[in-house]
Each structure stands twice: as structure tokens, then as C-alpha cells.
């Protein structure tokens, strides 16, 4: 479930897929990009323990201000919100996908809960592909950006923080070469 690199995946299809169009690479951002959110959520989940710990340490009777059951539901609500933050980040990570098919590249972006953007570029419009890996975490976990320049309506595509960017870049170039060698209108 938390994989972010699929080569020739089975069971994956997308809206607008043409007959004969085959998914070659299915990518998400590397799972490491979620670590900062795991830290945030861990800290958030410690807040009630810290609060009640301090209350107990200083021997403050908080039930004189608000009765006990309200503190319990407030804590429940806090944990629910904490879970919600984590879940929303997981959903966003899961939904932002990059697809390479034998015909085109597709970038599915959900910037937030209310906006979705799907960009396409045909492989014969691809002009240049480059990749960048920088920073200790990226080098260590082998993930980085793949930048694609096209002659399509959207001039630039960026596959952000994808695993094995060198391999992705080579696969895009290979498919683009194959596509350019095909006669127009043929799907192979």
C-alpha cells in the first residue's frame, strides 16, 4: 500500500486511458516525504498527555472549571483531529500520482481537498528530461525530482520526490524514443 514505485503494474488504470495504452510506471512521492508529518502528528498526540501530566504535577483541579466528561470528549476530539491531519496527508500523498504510459505522461495533482488537476503530455511532445537528486535524505533514500520539458500545452512537468529518479528519467526517454519512432496514430 505504501509503495511509491510500480513498474508495469497490474490492476492500475486511470480515467481517459485509451484502448491499448499500457501503464509502464506508476509513481508517487517517496514515502520519506511523509516523515515530517509523522513527527507533527506524534507531537500532537502527546499534547493531551503533557497537559494532563502538568495538571497532575501541579495538582490543579480542572474539574472545578469544566466537568470531567467534557475533558474526556475534548481529548477524544483532539485525537480525532490528530488522526484527521495524518489521514488527510496520507490521502494527499496517495492521490498525487505520476503515470508513464506507452503514449503519454500524466500528472495527477490534488493540491488540497478541493482542487484537482490532471495534466497530460504525449511522449512525442517531450523535448528534454532531466533529474536532480540533492541533500542527504534524497541521496540516502534515492529519491529526487524529474523535470520534463515538453512542446505540449503545459510546457513543464515535474515529478516531485519520486523514487529512483535516474531510472524514471531513463524510462521516460526510452518510451519517448519508441513513441517518436512509431507512425502517427499507432498505439504499441
Amino acid at each position: 500500500m505504501f509503495n511509491s514505485y510500480f513498474e508495469n503494474p497490474s490492476g492500475i488504470s486511470f480515467e481517459g486511458q485509451e484502448p491499448g495504452e499500457k501503464v509502464i510506471l506508476f509513481l508517487r512521492q517517496h514515502f520519506v516525504v511523509l516523515i515530517s508529518w509523522f513527527v507533527v502528528v506524534t507531537l500532537m498526540s502527546l499534547v493531551p498527555f503533557a497537559f494532563f501530566g502538568l495538571v497532575s504535577f501541579f495538582e490543579v483541579d480542572i474539574t472545578t472549571v469544566i466537568s470531567g466528561p467534557y475533558w474526556i470528549v475534548a481529548t477524544l476530539l483532539w485525537f480525532l483531529i490528530t488522526f484527521g491531519v495524518l489521514f488527510e496527508k496520507l490521502v494527499s500523498w496517495f492521490n498525487n500520482t505520476y503515470i508513464l504510459t506507452n503514449e503519454r505522461i500524466i500528472d495527477v495533482d490534488f493540491h488540497n481537498l478541493l482542487s484537482k488537476k490532471v495534466s497530460y503530455a504525449h511522449l512525442d511532445n517531450i523535448e528534454d528530461v532531466s533529474q536532480a537528486v540533492g541533500g542527504i535524505a534524497r541521496l540516502f533514500f534515492d529519491y529526487g525530482h524529474v523535470h520534463i520539458q515538453t512542446a505540449a500545452e503545459q510546457r513543464e512537468f515535474d515529478f516531485h520526490s519520486v523514487p529512483q529518479p535516474a531510472k524514471v528519467s531513463l524510462a521516460i526517454q526510452k518510451e519517448a524514443r519508441l513513441e517518436k519512432a512509431e507512425p502517427d496514430g499507432v498505439i504499441q
Partner: protein, 79 residues
């Protein structure tokens, strides 16, 4: 400070309860939006794991509705 601690309209207790109700209502709306997004994604990209996220989203909505009802129940029973 009496106005905040003596049980009036602007008492700390009233504000706390109002925050609980508002917070749980906003969370319920948020969880509905998450389900909406999961549904949109499942239509955009079909894979084997989409159902799991939908299931968790529905559980999340159930949990947020339960917390909202619990808060309203506490308020209306005068606990």
C-alpha cells in the same frame, strides 16, 4: 474575570463547550470532504488500494459524528 468564570454567557465553560461543538462540526465537514476527495481519486485512478481509503474515510465520518453527538448529548443533558 467574573464574567468568564461565573457561569454567564461568556463564561469559560460556555466558550469551551462552544469550541467543542464548533470543532466537532468543522471536523465532520472536513471528514466529508476527505471522503469526497477519496471518491474523486478512485474515479481518476483505479487501483487495488482505493477501497481501503474509502473504508477508513467512512469510519472517520462515523467517529466524528459520534463525537459530535456525544458533545451535544452532554450539553443537552446538562452534564
Amino acid at each position: 474575570m467574573d464574567i468568564f468564570f461565573d457561569g454567564g454567557l461568556f463564561s469559560f465553560e460556555t466558550i469551551f463547550k462552544a469550541f467543542l461543538v464548533l470543532g466537532s462540526v468543522f471536523y465532520l465537514v472536513f471528514s466529508l470532504l476527505v471522503l469526497k476527495q477519496v471518491n474523486v481519486t478512485n474515479r481518476t485512478v483505479q487501483n487495488n488500494e482505493g477501497g481501503t481509503f474509502k473504508f477508513i474515510s467512512i469510519l472517520n465520518i462515523g467517529a466524528s459524528a459520534a463525537v459530535l453527538l456525544l458533545i451535544l448529548g452532554l450539553i443537552f443533558t446538562g452534564a
